[in-house]
């Protein structure tokens, strides 16, 4: 029995957690759900006593009625890895790149003096077998494994000593849906067989609904609601839970309109990268990142492109934007060929919004300068007043204030930055907008608002969207037609609802089956 009682936490005098209380039972999964900054991860770190130096805690975290918050650091070291295990979001950075995976799993055992070198290797082997990596040798290095395999190694490390509590902090957020389903299955099995308690931290209500026996909803450092998962999710007593639930499968209102002529076409596009060097002058076979892809985007249409990481979506996007040369096939936008040498006037007609709201802006430029950057494409550059006026209008159109143009990007939240990115993309009045995972990094409520904005802009300005995402829910919410991409090829395409309702290709079926779904509870009004 592990209980958190009235846990409060302040860093530099600023309250991060307030009166957090919950209890975890062996053999059960406890879900902690909330948006970024709500204090989920801080709760986990407080449990492990891994908080920054300046943190001050009060309340209690009890394991067998002993308060962990009172324990000296040396005793906590003996508990961590032994009684308390933890896995993180990013399996690449959670593993040491210069140590073999066998050593990293065995390390836990050796640190706690449980096993000698040889025994530790045997246990490491057994634990790696248990997490589903029987075919992976102990002397492999993290970079030789896929993301899902790395997360399995992290899990093996965390459960090496069969801890009483396993904390999983967004364990599948960095993984593809099919891999996510496998990792969640593994965790579920571990909880049942090993009888450990699992604290599952996630932003994804569907994952919690799928996994957790009990759930707590966290907002701004406080638990606003908790209870058995089916009850919390069906009753949705707290308005915040309801808001999260509604935002999770939010569908913006879109007015159906007749589609016009084809705006953007690609026929048999190939994009190859040179193969890896195999000798001084020899190279392996070229990598076909995009392999014979054809697509048509019509005026006013919203076309989705779905696929997992490494399937070639981003490479295709860069080719469609005329940033990279293609090795075969043709791309045409607005009736003109697209290539790195295409004229600026054509570039102005096809703009893009990227995923990362933090990497999308030069941190040293003001918003005015950032949003006005595509004016470079115009033959006649606007005057300074004209520029300010147009940037102001663009900011208003995306729901920001014209006065925001004098600020720097770091003064905005993730959602606001994505609005700025949309303003920048719209400043030259393009016909085509490419949205490359444009809402993937956002919290659900922010994401819902950005989707509304996109739908609204499409209605008002008659834009055509190419919406690229790994997230099936989002694609379903905003597209008319969808294409599914796998290993550089389009394996299936058709009207969105039709593809989602009756997927034809086995890959599409696998994708849809793997995606965690929110149970269709009747919504209390």
């Amino acid at each position: 029995m592990i209980a958190v009682e009235n846990l409060s936490l302040a860093i530099h005098g600023e309250a991060i957690l307030r009166d957090v209380s919950f209890a975890m039972v062996p053999g059960r999964t406890f879900g902690l759900v909330g948006e970024s900054g709500s204090g989920k991860s801080m709760t986990a770190l407080a449990l492990m006593r891994l908080l920054p130096e300046s943190a001050r805690t009060s309340g209690a975290v009890t394991l067998d009625s002993i308060n962990l918050l009172d324990k000296p650091e040396a005793e906590m070291c003996a508990l961590r890895g032994n009684q308390l295990g933890m896995i993180f979001q990013e399996p690449m950075t959670a593993l040491n790149p210069v140590q073999t995976i066998g050593n990293q799993v065995a390390e836990t055992l050796r640190i706690h003096g449980i096993a000698t070198h040889a025994d530790a290797r045997d246990v490491a082997r057994a634990r790696l077998d248990r997490v589903g990596l029987p075919q992976i040798a102990l002397d492999r290095y993290p970079h030789e494994l896929s993301g899902g395999q790395r997360q399995r190694v992290c899990i093996a490390t965390a459960i090496a000593l069969r801890p009483r509590l396993l904390i999983a902090d967004e364990p599948t957020t960095a993984l593809d849906v099919t891999t996510q389903a496998q990792i969640l299955d593994l965790l579920r099995g571990l909880v049942e067989e090993e009888g450990m308690a699992l604290l599952l931290i996630t932003h994804d209500l569907a994952v919690v609904a799928d996994m957790a026996d009990h759930v707590a909803v966290m907002q701004a450092g406080e638990i606003v609601e908790q209870g058995p998962t089916p009850q919390v999710l069906s009753e949705q007593r707290h308005p915040y839970t309801r808001a999260l639930f509604e935002a999770s499968d939010h569908r913006p209102a879109r007015t159906p309109r007749p589609l016009g002529a084809p705006l953007l076409t690609a026929s048999d596009v190939d994009r190859h990268y040179p193969g890896p060097r195999t000798g001084l002058l020899r190279r392996g076979a070229p990598v076909k990142a995009v392999d014979g892809v054809s697509l048509t985007l019509k005026t006013g249409e919203s076309l989705g492109l779905v696929g997992e990481s490494g399937c070639g979506k981003s490479t295709l996007t860069r080719a469609l934007l005329g940033l990279d040369k293609v090795q075969g096939g043709e791309i045409a936008a607005l009736g003109n060929p697209v290539s790195p040498a295409m004229p600026n006037a054509l570039r102005a007609g096809i703009q893009v919004v990227f995923q990362d709201p933090y990497g999308s802006f030069n941190p040293r430029w003001r918003v005015e300068h950032l949003v006005a950057e595509p004016f470079h494409l115009l033959d006649e550059k606007p005057t300074r007043e004209d520029r300010r006026r147009k940037v102001g209008e663009a900011l208003l159109a995306v729901g920001l204030q014209p006065s925001d143009m004098d600020k720097y990007p770091h003064e905005f939240s993730g959602g606001q930055r994505q609005r700025i990115a949309i303003a920048r993309a719209l400043i030259t009045n393009p016909k085509i907008l490419v949205l490359d995972e444009a809402v993937s990094a956002l919290d659900v409520r922010v994401r819902a608002r950005i989707l509304d904005l996109l739908a609204d802009l499409q209605d008002r300005m008659g834009l055509s969207y190419l919406f690229i995402s790994h997230d099936l829910t989002v694609v379903r919410a905003i597209t008319d037609r969808v294409m599914v991409m796998q290993a550089g090829r389009i394996v299936e395409q058709g009207p969105t609802e039709q593809v989602f309702a009756a997927p034809g290709h086995e890959y599409t079926q696998a994708l849809l089956a793997a995606a965690p779904r929110l149970p269709g509870y009747a919504r209390p009004s």
Binding site: R318, L323, V352, G359
Partner: protein, 274 residues
């Protein structure tokens, strides 16, 4: 703004003292350093000669002041050569990464790195004669690959960011992106490297003038003061200690300042410190 690191304050203070000495020497020194008064030779420290005099009767404080000017000037110009030529080369290499131009620039860098700087300096002097100008050229050449490398490394990681992609979608070419987006974001790295190169330049100038390949007599320099004091190191150790101390303190000051600047300007290190 976070607290300034102590090392930074100490380093900046040391550097400022030497800079002030050097600047003051342009308008005023306690005594004329080019005038030899044998009657005053080897005086101990006194009110007239605060640090004493050398074997030719020149005031040591005045010589140290002018020497600071020489050291700083040579190092400053040499670093500037490195920045002005090296940074554009590094930016060009990063902008065309993987191309023939990138290879040419980087292999050219390797070539310069492979030569011992003192040998090149001796070579230049053997051909053109010893002078401060030639010392600057010799030190400056070796700064070029350093700055090219730092600029290229910093730029390469920036080229993968979305805002560079956004600038390309806005139709901007490589040169324009390098100047507008890349350069302002690697200035931090360059400033830190410049302080380090500056202190290395001062050491190099001292080494060259020690073997007589930098500024020529009668203009004093720290390196030559050291070599002149060599024969009297047992009878008059202060003659060697004072210029030696000047070199050590100046280099220490600049290194401390470089470290402090790196802590201050590198956001990754800044987060760690908090």
């Amino acid at each position: 703004m976070t607290r300034l690191p102590v090392s930074m304050i100490l380093g900046a203070a040391l550097s400022a003292v030497f800079l002030a000495m050097a600047l003051l020497s342009f308008v005023w020194t306690p005594h004329d350093v080019e005038q030899l008064v044998i009657a005053n030779r080897l005086q101990p420290a006194s009110s007239e000669f605060p640090l004493g005099t050398d074997q030719f009767g020149r005031d040591l404080l005045s010589m140290l002041m002018v020497g600071a000017r020489v050291s700083l000037a040579v190092a400053l110009v040499a670093v500037s050569i490195g920045v002005v030529i090296g940074v554009p080369l590094g930016l060009a290499a990063a902008a065309t990464r993987g191309s023939l131009l990138d290879e040419l620039i980087m292999r050219g860098n390797d070539l310069i790195f492979a030569f011992p700087s003192l040998v090149i300096a001796i070579l230049i002097t053997a051909v053109f004669g010893p002078s401060a100008f030639n010392a600057i050229i010799a030190i400056g050449i070796f700064n070029i690959p350093v700055f090219a490398r730092v600029a290229r490394g910093g730029a390469l990681s920036l080229w993968t960011l979305d805002y560079i992609l956004a600038a390309r979608v806005a139709g901007k070419g490589r040169t324009r992106i390098s100047v507008e987006h890349i350069l302002p974001n690697i200035v931090n790295l360059l400033i830190v490297q410049a302080t380090i190169q500056f202190s290395l330049g001062i050491l190099a100038e001292a080494a060259l003038s020690y073997v007589g390949l930098s500024v020529q007599p009668p203009v004093p320099s720290w390196g030559r003061m050291l070599s002149d004091a060599q024969t009297m190191i047992y009878s008059h150790p202060m003659l060697a200690i004072l210029p030696g101390l000047a070199i050590v303190l100046m280099v220490l000051g600049l290194n401390l300042m470089g470290d402090g600047l790196r802590d201050l300007l590198d956001p990754r290190l800044r987060r760690q410190r908090q």
